[in-house]
Amino acid sequence: MKVNSVVYPTPADPRRLLSDHLRHDLGLTGTHVGCEHGVCGCCTVLLDGAPVRSCLLLAVQAEGHEVTTIEGLASDAAPLHPVQQAFHECHGLQCGFCTPGFVLAVVGLLAQHPNPTPEQVDEGIAGNLCRCTGYASIRRAVHRAAELSQK
């Protein structure tokens, strides 16, 4: 499987979750693990460009696919991806635990709706839990990310 454009061998144990594989085998600890049953959204990564829960995917299932984690989001040219930049500018985080999952879910949301309405923003981030911000600044960050992405 490819993770952030680097090819890695597939783990031998089929019960290894992708989230644990990323963190424990590859050392990519930017993918956070919260609930481990698909509710909190912290472990969201991109699978072939679409956001998915890495705690609900066996690592062996990612064989032959491209996984993008928060570590792989920014390009060499820019230190922050537009969505990361927007979260930074709008204070879309406090403790930061949920942030990688939010950022990758928002990347997916903006790919689907480049100019999201407030309703589409709420729908797009409804699957991610944040216990610090109260979501207001995250909503602002999503709209700002849409602006930055179009520049």
Binding site: L17, L56, G108, A126
Partner: protein, 250 residues
């Protein structure tokens, strides 16, 4: 919160998948995994074998047939949501699939997997029932069609045999007026109770071991929903009446 040990099989054709299922005791089919993997993580499911069908090519089509729309085993719920064919032929299904969990879950979860999982609080089994659709099951013994009103046999139980693979679901075209309305504690959660209206037919979910057809004039008759911390049985019956009223007001 990690899956228990299991043997992993990843067949690459439907024929191979059926042969594998026929040869194994205590095997579970893994499609999108959005219901099965949580059950594994909680250790509520401990199958000896996982048969992952995601390596099978070309079983993710959504296409028109027999005046309705067919959705194959690996069509993701997000693909159903975005499908122009579904929106044109069966807009009730488009409306219902948007109520299933969240987009990130729908990117991976499959419609056929949702039906085979048969959660009584799930929207899609009730849609299949309200419209009078069917599923197609394949095994080494051949293929059979199972009508919606026979498919669901209990809480998370269907009449699918252990060696059968649900390869396709078929939904008749939906006509106006239709509605799918549910009440849940949080956005994307399973419904406390929900109703699906397809013209004059009504199906309920979340209030019985399986989705059930009901009389729109007296939708709560004969129901004995369970009560839990989220909602009492009485409240669920109240919701059935109120939601049915809303669905048939249009």
């Amino acid at each position: 919160m990690k899956p228990p040990p299991f043997e992993y099989r990843a067949p690459t054709t439907v024929e191979e998948a059926c042969a594998v299922l026929a040869s194994l005791e205590d095997a579970k089919v893994l499609a999108g995994g959005q219901s099965l993997v949580p059950l594994l993580n909680f250790r509520l499911a401990r199958p000896a074998y996982i048969v992952d069908i995601n390596r099978i090519a070309a079983i993710d089509r959504i296409y028109e047939r027999d005046g309705g729309v067919a959705v194959q085993a690996l069509a993701r719920q997000a693909a159903v949501e975005d499908s122009e064919i579904v929106a044109r032929v069966c807009p009730l299904l488009t409306a219902a699939v948007r109520l299933v969990a969240h987009r990130v879950i729908r990117n991976r979860g499959t419609l056929c997997g949702n039906l085979a999982h048969a959660d009584p609080a799930s929207e899609l089994p009730a849609v299949l029932l309200a419209l009078g659709g069917h599923v197609v099951a394949r095994s080494i013994r051949g293929e059979r069609v199972i009508e919606a009103d026979r498919l669901f046999s209990g809480v998370m139980e269907t009449i699918l045999a252990p060696d059968e693979l649900l390869v396709e679901a078929w939904f008749p075209a939906s006509s106006q007026p239709f509605a799918v309305i549910e009440e849940s504690r949080r956005h994307g959660d399973f419904a406390l109770a929900g109703v699906v209206r397809a013209v004059d037919r009504l199906a309920l979910f979340g209030v019985a071991p399986t989705p059930v057809l009901a009389d729109p004039r007296d939708p709560a008759r004969g129901l004995q929903p369970s009560g839990d911390l989220e909602a009492t049985a009485e409240f669920r019956l109240h919701l059935v009446r109120v939601l049915t009223g809303k669905a048939f007001a249009a």
